[in-house]
């Protein structure tokens, strides 16, 4: 019955010592959508991400992947199912080369990841595929650089390539354009659009311009609950959403003023 949803939550709740960060959220992510999760700061977006991928234990509720509960699985098992997440802060392996970053993601299905007696050159057979992935995000000429030397925007592109190497069915991107200059934002937006072909994406995003350009479904979260759902136009016209955003912006103005 819920097969059309790749990912679904039912009454998902997370409490931290009496504070309810995520409050009985019912989220449904449809196959093939680029689904945005937006909301003011502290709305529980990242917490929700952490629950979906079990980086945090859930207090109540259920998470379904293609109709089957994954609430009791480990993070690594969920990743192996094809639900692969990225992180708010660029998640790369800083002292490995760009190529090695992608290769680590390709390596696991080879089944030799515990083979401590084999030489690492057996991994070279993955180089071609790794290069193809790097090419798809425009990083092929940086393949041999140590990752820490890359500028921020390229690190995020690398992160995307690494995530794609997992061949995920659904990608959870946590603020993929955060902290980027305008030029980088456009490039990453394009990359996400390309990556979305044949996949489902759920992304937390603050940049509403990116959301309006990219996403065909938007869920608005405020204080841990869903306050609106729909396409960008209908959601942005919703008075509750306006209030949540204006309220928080007014607060921020007060903070900067004081």
């Amino acid at each position: 019955m819920s097969q059309e949803f790749v990912l679904e939550t039912r009454g998902l709740t997370k409490e931290f010592r009496g504070f309810t960060a995520v409050d009985s959220v019912n989220l449904q992510v449809k196959e093939g959508n680029i689904h945005a999760l937006i909301g003011p700061n502290g709305a529980g977006k990242t917490t929700l991400f952490n629950l979906l991928t079990k980086y945090l234990p859930i207090t109540r509720g259920d998470i379904l992947y293609r109709g089957k509960s994954i609430a009791k699985m480990k993070s690594s098992e969920i990743a192996r199912l094809g639900v692969v997440r990225s992180f708010q802060i660029s998640a790369v392996f800083p002292h490995m080369t760009v190529l090695e970053n992608v290769r680590v993601a390709l390596q696991r299905p080879m089944g030799n990841s515990f083979h401590f007696w084999k030489h690492e050159k057996v991994l070279n057979q993955l180089n071609d595929r790794a290069m193809d992935l790097l090419e798809s995000v425009g990083l092929e000429e940086y393949a041999d650089n140590i990752t820490v030397e890359l500028p921020y925007g390229r690190k995020r592109a690398l992160e995307l390539a690494t995530t794609l190497a997992m061949e995920p069915t659904i990608m959870l991107l946590d603020e993929p354009t955060q902290g980027m200059g305008l030029e980088d934002v456009d490039r990453v937006t394009e990359l996400i659009r390309k990556a979305a072909v044949g996949r489902t994406i759920l992304m937390v995003e603050h940049n509403l311009r990116v959301v309006s350009k990219l996403c065909n479904q938007v869920t608005v979260l405020a204080r841990g609950t869903v306050i609106a759902e729909g396409d960008y136009a209908s959601v942005s016209a919703n008075p509750q959403v306006k209030e949540a955003y204006m309220g928080s912006e007014a607060d921020e103005e007060q903070e900067t003023a004081s």
Binding site: R108, N112, K118, H119
Partner: protein, 330 residues
């Protein structure tokens, strides 16, 4: 597609330069090996064997601290376990030394698995505390147990005949056997680091949550690394018992867990030869000081060295040299 060709050419160019670096590394290893082969004619073999045993112990420890990012404060337990099991077998059951050493190593592997299963899910200081607590438990067990000789330790363990015919009472044969054991251990570590498994370990050390999100069950990888390290620490302890014909509570004491941290940090944590240099440095310093007028001040001086290392030379001797080489000879 022209792009693909050039990038592939670039990749192979990098592999060429990697090969050149590899050749240099092999030259250095061969030079070190040559030194190790003639060393017993220049220095007191028993002291050299002591260095080799502790160097192996420190290398094993470095596999968890430097290459997995786990601070174990209980590695003395593995050293002592190897030592006691080997000592017991050699003195009570008259097995040949290689069998005694293998069983000692196996015992350390089993103990390491047990330690690892209990502690690996904890991080940072909690991991250190659990390993310390478990090692203390093992210490008191060996203190009370009958077969260890308690506070007196196990004295007069016979070295015996290796494979039944090589007399290890001869210091020179003993030395070359210890050198062989050390090399096997060292090569295993070097291979582990440069293996598919080593790549995953590196990824885990660099960014653990990300490694998890790539589908790796990080605890399992850490556990394997920990068990390999425990096994090699046991191998070092077993071999040490054969050399000194003695297994004592000193090896199980938490001082020993601290000393191996000191050796690793002074030499250079996360570098392959750092622990060897560190063990040599610490043991030579202790040895020289013990014979000099400053004999009573050994621990104070080691403490000062440790503080200086942590505050000023955080990369250790080898680490600082590598930094220097990178800066000046690139």
């Amino acid at each position: 597609m022209a792009m693909t060709e050039t990038t592939k050419a670039r990749v192979s160019a990098v592999q060429e330069s990697k090969k050149a670096a590899n050749r240099r590394r092999i030259m250095i290893y061969l030079a070190l090996l040559a030194v190790a082969l003639i060393a017993p004619f220049l220095a007191y073999p028993v002291f050299l064997m002591k260095i080799l045993c502790f160097a192996l112990f420190a290398c094993a420890f470095n596999l968890v601290l430097g290459y997995t990012g786990l601070l174990s404060f209980g590695h003395a337990a593995f050293l002592a376990t190897g030592g006691y099991f080997t000592g017991y077998l050699l003195s009570q059951h008259a097995v040949t030394p290689e069998v005694g050493i293998l069983v000692g190593t196996l015992a350390a592997i089993i103990l390491g698995t047990f330690f690892g299963l209990l502690s690996i899910r904890r991080q940072g200081i909690y991991f250190a505390m659990i390993t310390l607590a478990l090692a203390q438990l093992v210490f008191f067990f060996y203190l009370q147990a009958d077969f260890t000789g308690g506070e007196d330790g196990m004295q007069g363990v016979p070295r015996g005949y290796l494979f039944g015919f090589i007399d290890l009472e001869n210091n020179l044969s003993m030395y070359y056997f210890v050198l062989a054991v050390f090399l096997i251990g060292f090569m295993l570590i070097q291979r582990t680091i440069h293996s598919p498994f080593g790549q995953v370990l590196k990824a885990i050390r660099e960014n653990e949550p990300r490694a998890t999100s790539l589908g790796y069950n990080v605890d399992a990888y850490k556990l394997v690394a920990f068990v390999i390290s425990a096994g090699l620490a046991g191998l070092a302890g077993s071999t040490k018992t054969v050399v000194f014909q003695l297994a004592s509570l000193n090896d199980a004491h938490w001082h020993m867990s601290g000393e191996v941290i000191l050796m690793t940090l002074v030499g250079g944590v996360g570098t392959l030869v750092g622990p060897i240099v560190g063990a040599t440095f610490v043991l030579t310093l202790t040895h020289q000081l013990a014979q000099s007028a400053l004999g009573d001040w050994v621990n104070v001086i080691l403490g000062v060295v440790f503080v200086a290392c942590v505050m000023a030379f955080r990369a250790g001797i080898v680490g600082e040299l590598q930094k220097f080489a990178k800066k000046n000879f690139k």
